[in-house]
Amino acid sequence: MKKNMSKEFLMDFFKDSKIEDKNGVLTISEVSSDFEKFVGKPSPYKFVFDVETHSRVQDSELIMQGSYFLLAVRDYLIDKGQTSLLKSGAGLMYEFSFISTYQYLNDKKQAINKILIKNGKVMDNLSKVIASKGDSSEISNLDASGQYNIAKKKLGECTKKDIKSIKVILKKKLEKELMRVRGHYSKQIKEKDEEVETCENKIKMLQSKLRHTSYERDRNIITRMIRESTERLEMLKKRSYKERLKEEEIFHVKDEIEKHALTIKNSLINLTVYY
């Protein structure tokens, strides 16, 4: 949402309040006490839309995409406007409006999908429906749970494309990170294996040397060297390094998988009944 759109949105939202638009500052006063109570701040609100004006105007609220005040307005509206009734004369239909939020790494994306259902079937064309304000006394038996399950299914298809594009990004990143972790541990295991092998070869070589040495002093030195190498080898094997490293690898792989997880939260924000 661009600067003008944020401003238009706020003017629209506060249309029942007093609005003054002067020198880059949108001042809103006489706001409903219900809203003032919700945001925990009494009006007037001075909205500015750039950092420069923000530093110039005391007590101003800097409005930019996703800023605190816009979040507060969204939260204020969360339990409002959840259901509507419209008369269209085209038979009983349910329009489900879903918001899907995709969260991954430090990013978030959202998509809004409207799904119209009539007689358990998804209708494609919404624009042709002409409707006026409905009267609840004219309708009966409004159980939408079956339609809701169909809408959920359809939503899965609608979000597929978004999810696919995010998955491409995530998979690429995750693959790189997992390659690092797995590569690191396989190299470590290899290094340890080599160390074991070197140690074993050394012992064999020393043992052969011992067999061909008769000089007492040399025999003592070689025996000591064999003992040290054997101890080292036992230590390497005793600590079962492979299991330990494997365990560590699993931990870090899991860490990366969690870090790169994609979370999709779907919420129904409105259900409109047409009759």
């Binding site: 939408a144 690092r180 290094e191 924000i269």
Partner: protein, 615 residues
């Protein structure tokens, strides 16, 4: 949404949630439980005007937070920060945007790593990315962190004290020394519950202590499950490049290869400190590290601290009264049954009062006399001493204070002066006498409301020349407009002294800071003041460096009496000297030497770090 490659492998308690994997990629998909309430509303024919939906859709669009291009939380905290330092915002943004929230923040001391980390935390929380956050700090910095997060970022972090505290952990902070304890009998960390939580972010302050991968400290951190990790230290390695390797292993396993690869690629044989291929090492580090120097950060300038010790010569009567109290504590401090009371604890709580002022000495003696838990001989001795105190006609320390205030005013007319004392009784006493001398002053102590605090600070800033304060209640104050501090009495804990000076020694201070200290001649006070002021707090270190040094030396945590280990060291030195001042001086010299060693080592570390990272 069925697919052959989708494998649901994790069960969840929420029926509206499903978790599945596509190869290694984890996907968690859920529907809001609130949806059912909407269906129920329709069933009950509860409808609202359709126009609300339109504005609601627009609000969702306006509130949408996509990728991180700027800190949307900054306007919320800006008013709480004393200064707008661009490098802090840039750092936070880089950590989140470019480094995916896993970074080593290695800015030089004094650039505000805590603030940068706070910005990262706040941004993540506002964007809904973080619900579970853990901060691990040195013991002495837990409260400072809590306070900064609360006052500057409006974030309430709960302190972890016992193992049970982890159960409801959301935003929590803990001393790393406390939680790293390992039980060798059960072969488990005492605070193992921390390892069962999946943390959205973990921040570790003074992370250079994680240089050794064989320590419990390192292992404790390594075992924590975390999505984001911030390691803060100005000196990521000390003597050995392997320390840097160990630190980065916590951040990104294998980033510098295996240890053998690291050795062969980056270490000169026989020299653990010199990198073989510094350019390549720096390139690798830049992928996970942020490092800025003070001289390249805009708006960051620290002023000098100028120490001044003001010797106070006691009159014969004053000296005698003082010695009598010390004798009472050493020789006649008995409980009701005539058994000597634990001298360490007694000394610790009483001696500072005695050296603070005659008023606080009198208060102590009066409370002793009125307390039946003491032996009659102790009470009688106290009564005699109290009698002598009441006969005193002069207060040399207070007289010196008045002279000093006049001297400072003469040097710099109208300059602000902050007087610190540890004891409320002394504060009231000084205020009473100074008012009689027509000085305009503000009193600041614990128990004031936030409103009253701010009124008094404004009063000091705009109306009065002098403010007298106790430590309690003055934490976190910004008094950069004042450049003179007088320590009427001195805490034996250098961290507390740093906190006092820190009210003035902040970014934005325009003058050099005079640190005046009253020290009574012929008492242990003059030796302690010399050690803490001349050898620790005023030796050219930047604000924040002394705590690191004490932390490195293991002297910042609490000892057996609940006071800092450093304070206990001094107290034991005094007790061992049996009030023999030359012996006490020798002991203090030893402590001084030890501290000098710590400082030297730290300076070396800074040098090595700078050679590797800044050149």
């Amino acid at each position: 949404m069925k697919s052959k490659i989708l494998t649901p492998i994790e069960k969840t308690a929420n029926p509206n949630e499903r978790i599945y994997f596509e190869k290694d990629l984890k996907i968690v998909e859920s529907f809001d439980n609130e949806d059912l309430n909407i269906l129920e509303k329709v069933k009950n024919k509860q409808f609202e005007p359709r126009e609300i939906l339109e504005i609601k859709l627009k609000s969702e669009e306006a509130a949408e937070q996509s990728e991180i291009k700027e800190l949307i939380s900054y306007p919320m905290i800006k008013k709480n920060l004393s200064f707008n330092l661009p490098h802090q915002q840039e750092g936070a943004l880089k950590i989140l945007r470019d480094l995916d929230g896993r970074a080593l923040l290695a800015d030089e001391v004094g650039l505000g790593k805590t603030i940068t980390a706070g910005m990262v935390l706040k941004e993540c929380i506002v964007r809904g990315l973080v619900r579970k956050a853990l901060i691990l700090t040195p013991p002495s910095l837990v409260n400072q962190w809590k306070e900064e997060l609360s006052t500057k970022f409006n974030l309430d972090f709960k302190e972890i004290n016992t193992e049970g505290d982890w159960e409801s952990a959301g935003l929590v902070i803990a001393s790393i020394d406390r939680v790293k304890n390992f039980n060798t009998q059960t072969n488990e960390f005492k605070h193992d519950k921390a390892h069962q939580i999946y943390w959205d972010i973990i921040v570790i302050d003074e992370a250079h202590k994680l240089k050794d991968k064989n320590t419990f400290r390192w292992k404790f951190v390594d075992k924590l499950q975390k999505k984001r990790l911030l390691l803060l230290t100005a000196t990521p390695f000390q003597n050995n490049l392997t320390e840097l390797y160990n630190l980065l292993s916590l951040l990104r396993r294998g980033h510098l290869g295996t240890i053998s690869e690291f050795r062969s690629n980056f270490l000169v044989d026989g020299n653990e400190r010199q990198p073989l291929n510094p350019r390549e090492l720096k390139r690798k580090l830049s992928e996970v590290m942020i490092r800025r120097r003070r001289d390249e950060a805009k708006g960051v300038k620290y002023m000098k601290r100028i120490p001044r010790i003001q010797s106070v010569e006691l009159s014969f009567e004053e000296k005698r009264a003082y010695e009598q109290v010390v004798d009472l504590l050493f020789l006649h401090y008995l409980d009701f049954n005539g058994i000597p009371i634990n001298t360490v604890l007694a000394m610790h709580s009483i001696l500072p009062k005695v050296t603070s002022s005659s008023r606080s000495s009198i208060e102590f003696l009066e409370s002793l006399i009125a307390n039946p838990k003491y032996h009659t001989s102790t009470i009688e001795t106290a009564q005699d001493i109290l009698h002598d105190f009441r006969l005193l006609t002069q207060d040399s320390k207070l007289q010196k204070l008045i002279e000093l205030i006049n001297e400072i005013s003469k040097r710099d007319r109208g300059t602000k002066i902050l007087i610190y004392t540890k004891h409320p009784a002394t504060l009231r006493y000084i205020a009473e006498i100074l008012r009689k001398q027509n000085f305009k002053l503000t009193e600041f102590m614990g128990g004031l409301t936030a409103d009253e605090k701010s009124k008094r600070i404004n009063n000091f800033k705009n109306e009065t020349q002098i403010m007298i304060s106790t430590e309690t209640g003055s934490e976190g104050l910004n008094l950069q407009f004042c450049s003179n501090i007088i320590n009427y009495d001195l805490p034996w804990n250098p961290m507390a002294v740093e906190q006092r000076i820190g009210r003035l020694d902040r970014i934005g201070q325009k003058k050099d800071i005079f640190v005046y200290n009253l020290a009574t001649k012929g008492t242990m006070e003059e030796h302690v003041v010399d050690l803490i002021i001349n050898k620790m707090c005023c030796i050219g270190l930047i604000m924040g460096e002394l705590p690191i040094i004490l932390f490195n030396m293991g002297l910042d945590s609490s000892g057996n009496t609940g006071s800092s280990k450093f304070e206990e060291k001094l107290m034991h030195a005094f007790l061992d000297s049996k009030n023999n001042l030359s012996r006490f001086a020798t002991e203090i010299d030893k402590v001084g030497m030890e501290i000098s060693g710590g400082i030297k080592e730290y300076e070396q570390t800074k040098k090595y770090t700078s050679e590797l990272l800044d050149k």
